[in-house]
Amino acid sequence: MSANAIPTPLRLNRTTGRTSSFLASSIGRKVVMALTGLVLFGYVVVHMLGNLQIYLGPAALNAYAVKLRAMPALLWGVRVLLFASAVLHVWAAVSLTRANVAARGIGYRERRNRESTYASRTMRWSGVILLLFIVYHLLHLTLGTVHPGFVPGDVYHNVVRGFQMGIAPFFYVLAMLALGLHMYHGVWSLMQTVGLSHPRYDRLRYAFAAFITALVVLGNLSFPIAVMTGLLKDRSSSRAATAARR
């Protein structure tokens, strides 16, 4: 576009269709980011709540896993939805980030931030850490590929043994800190992006994001900590302990 051309009011292109013009637009891609983020956020909350059953003992947790596997339509439906959401979330992030980086070819020598937060400025990095973690997490506790003591179906054993070995618990803790930053900014941001804003309720967005993020992160962090402090023990050792007590 030449520097002085004043465009005529936009003739909305009827041939490209509203869906493709929406997805090509900045706001459209932001909405994709927000809605897929909402799916992933909802899953993370349910995932954490479901896993709290580890504190009910091996039988309860393994029965929960059996119950989920007994509903293949739900299991695979959720898996497909999560995979599609993750792919679209990353697509939106990459395409928007590229546009954002390209928008300022020459940067400032000096700049001071006033309103932005550490969480908001590190979304890209926390997002990359989470993506790497999700791949690792699936290989570790779902497929067992990188888990030396993996026993298919024995979820309790896999979790407890998994957190007793090597760098796994430390990577897990790091990923949960990244999740905390990513979720806090993401949860209230998605409301802003889809237009949920009102002077009376805006404060609640931050409170809700902080509360739900703290809940999920603390819940998730409790698992490796409980294993490392010996609160959760592997079944074989706990069985031996029970036998010894008799």
């Binding site: 009011p9 090509a24 909405v31 928008a103 908001s120 802003q192 804003s197 002077p199």
Partner: protein, 259 residues
């Protein structure tokens, strides 16, 4: 007081720029930031040098012409203040001040601290006109406007288009500006007929100009000399979503009308 300035100097749009250090001597605390630059320029002119080019017009904080990055902050350190209304009493003797132009590819540097902001004009133009009756002036209050809508529209209309939102945004996004322009007519009854085409047109133009996108840092609101709220961005997003969903995919003018 005496200050040291590090100023971005760039001969023209094609030239490579660089920072040049200038002393600013005997600065009165009552001067505005622009008056301080005027004094520095007088010395430069007296010495046969090219003065520092910067945009300015009203010098009373209402026109939106001035604007520069002062120590990494758009319009300088004071909130809700344009560079022309920033006074030198904000600074202390011996301070060093870094002055840069707005940085965004959609705002190319014309010279020194002057950038070309016509991208903003094209966004406004892309919004089009409102349907208005020609002829004699309408009766006052013929169209009822709710007080709350009038107030909010006025808040949006307070935007002076200075570009500080783009300059302060880590992504060089123009969403606060565009949101203000979308909302200002979109809130009023007179703006309703074109509400959907306006928001889609302005957003399409904003994207085409090469601005970044909002990641909710809210640096724009903090930098805005008129304190335009980021709630207008949420409002624009909402309007854009509704406009897209409501698009019936039909030509604007149906054929076969007999009038």
């Amino acid at each position: 007081m005496n200050l040291t300035l590090h100023v971005w100097r760039q001969k023209n749009a094609a030239a490579r720029g660089r920072f040049v250090t200038y002393p600013a001597s005997d600065v009165s605390p009552d001067m505005s930031f622009l008056e301080m630059l005027d004094v520095v320029n007088e010395a430069l002119i007296a010495g046969g040098e090219d003065p520092i080019a910067f945009d300015h017009d009203c010098r009373e904080g209402i026109c939106g012409t001035c604007g520069m990055m002062i120590d990494g902050q758009a319009h300088g350190p004071r909130r809700a203040t344009t560079a022309c209304q920033l006074h030198m009493r904000t600074y202390r003797d011996g301070d060093e001040i870094t002055i840069e132009p707005w940085r965004a590819d959609a705002f190319p540097v014309v010279k020194d601290l002057v950038v070309d902001r016509s991208a903003f004009d094209r966004i406004v133009a892309a919004g089009g006109f409102i349907t208005a009756r020609t002829g004699s002036a309408p009766d006052g209050n013929a169209v009822p406007v709710p007080k709350a809508a009038a107030d909010l529209a006025m808040d949006a209309a307070a935007c002076i288009g200075c570009g500080a939102c783009v300059a302060a945004c880590p992504n060089a996004s123009a969403m606060l500006f565009t949101a203000a322009k979308v909302s200002h007519l979109g809130l009023l009854p007179q703006g309703q007929p074109e509400r959907h085409t306006r928001v889609r047109g302005m957003v399409a133009q904003m994207d085409a100009e090469g601005f970044g996108t909002c990641t909710n840092h809210f640096e724009c609101e903090a930098a805005c000399p008129k304190s335009i709220s980021v709630r207008f961005i949420a409002r624009m997003n909402r309007d854009y979503l509704v406009a897209t969903l409501a698009d019936r995919g039909e030509p604007a003018s149906a054929e076969g009308g007999t009038g």
